[in-house]
Symmetry: C2
């Protein structure tokens, strides 16, 4: 029988890391100790993933380890913060060695990619639930907030949208696709790539006014920027960058899943038109596609138009954990 | 129907607080922003509470709000850190207004007592699970760690032990007590008082070598100090300060529940004998009882003796979430 302490020791306490240790004191005491870099602010985010809600029962443990950390890294990316460390609280139905080995491999592979150190947490028995709190740092005044969009700003999207939603529709039997389509789309749902480098480049270069990461669908999430900034926006539904699997589907499905999909973990940001060239260059430096999809306006509300500028009626509802009871 | 955003806004976003805001940017963006005090270290701890594991189904929401934060404040107390802020991730089976009102009241009453600000988090639907990550600060070198106990140190306990365990035994039908005994013991289980002031006084005064908070039973938890510090200890089982309800029970039950209870959230710390008077004075300044219960020794292992110094065989097993499948 694997005890709580053996479990932590075997799967979550690591030997020498490639990078220098970030924590002054890591796993094993009542608290971890972090020494912040002088003059830097700390960005902090917490996400909880629940089996049957955020992932299917029986989901691959390695991909789940990746995704649990990726959604938190995506929040740091959306602020423009540099990842430093994270805590992991884990409720497990049982101490299953195969599951723990897979989960910790997926988690640490991604953590190492961003030099982000596990510094503490909690393990307990319970319905499978993963709660990560992540810490990043950034210089004062650099944070990409939601409340700084200005009328006249361009609206930009990183990467592509909708393939995670397509995979979900397929796995839930909501729509039927070719097997190859699912195989193309599924990694976007299971293994999102947080846009940390792009977020850092936008923040450090002072290139963006407002930003967030798209987790509940573009329309709903952009709505948070519009509300916080007291502005509106018009987006070109046909300019939204559909993922490779979604791109081969009908126009109506492309529009719907790009505009109100979910689980995209791309950045949506607004920026002054004079920064267009610098943004394209910064994104190229991160090997990340960026697409201009619309404009911020004084008039409140979110409007969609087609490629010819004609108004479209698209549902702007984001995903709400308490609305779909 | 209460949406996720309305839920957060109504129950967890607050107006003006008594103290100055701790967060540079609080609830509502991708991350919260904290500006650390210059030169200070950050102490970070995360605890997850699961219904049916850490609390009974149907537990009073207000007491649960208190306890969820109290166990985290207790971790800061055990490091000697000053509470600053916390995040809350909450999985709820439903958005129940009465539950939310009670939970947030219990949570914020305690948060205000320690001037500790809720700066962000997550809410989702799922089996009732509460994960709080807490942030404190302290000067470099002041932290009360587990690995600094020295042979010759006194072992001290704050407050009293065992009443929470007594209440649990009663509520589980493991033992039968008078109703008055349960009424006396139950608050210790439901509303623990984190020893933040005492932890601060010990850390700031340089009075203790090692410390932790007792959550899984004294014997098991002290074992972590002994292992980390590579020392042993002998404790006087009859010197352990039993709680008022436990004090009226048999000697064998007093010994058992004081030594290996659980949910005590008292501090266990080790200190040089020359600091005895200063420790008693510091504790009096915090209106907190402290009791000397034993001594740290070179010989590894934890030994119990009775008031006459005769060896006792007491189970030293702490609570393990994965041992009792």
């Amino acid at each position: 029988m694997l005890s709580e302490f053996d479990l932590i020791k075997q799967y979550f306490v690591r030997g020498a890391r490639a990078g220098a240790p970030r924590a002054t004191l890591g796993i094993g005491d009542d608290c971890a100790l972090l020494t912040p870099s002088p003059g830097m602010q700390m960005a902090i985010s917490s996400d909880m993933l629940v089996e049957g809600r955020h992932f299917f029962a029986g989901a691959d443990a390695c991909m789940l380890g990746h995704k649990s950390l990726a959604v938190n890294l995506s929040d740091l990316a959306a602020m423009g913060a540099k990842p430093i460390a994270f805590t992991l609280a884990l409720a497990l139905p049982a101490a299953d060695r195969d599951w723990l080995a897979g989960f910790s491999r997926g988690l640490f592979d991604l953590a190492d990619q961003f030099d982000c150190e596990l510094i503490g947490g909690d393990t307990t028995r319970g319905p499978l639930t993963i709660c990560i709190t992540i810490f990043g740092e950034l210089a004062p005044g650099q944070a990409l907030r939601r409340d700084r969009a200005l009328a006249g700003d361009d609206v930009w999207i990183s990467g592509t949208l909708g393939d995670a939603r397509l995979a979900l529709a397929c796995l839930q039997g909501e729509l039927v696709f070719h097997r190859a389509t699912l195989e193309q789309a599924a990694p976007r749902m299971h293994m999102p790539a947080p846009r940390v480098a792009l977020g850092r480049a936008l923040a450090c270069g002072g290139l963006a006014h407002a930003a967030l990461d798209i987790s509940d669908g573009l329309a709903g999430d952009l709505g948070h920027i519009l509300a916080a900034s007291n502005v509106g926006a018009t987006l070109d539904a046909d300019a939204l960058p559909a993922g490779p699997a979604l791109a081969s589907q009908s126009r109506s499905l492309r529009r719907q899943f790009s505009a109100a999909g979910g689980d995209d973990y791309e950045l949506c940001f607004t920026a002054a038109p004079r920064h267009r060239a610098a943004i394209v260059e910064a994104a190229a430096g991160c090997a990340t596609l960026v697409t201009r999809v619309g404009v911020i306006e004084q008039a409140p509300g979110l409007r969609f138009v087609d490629a010819d500028g004609r108004p479209l009626a698209l549902s702007a509802a984001g995903f709400d954990h308490f609305a779909s009871a």
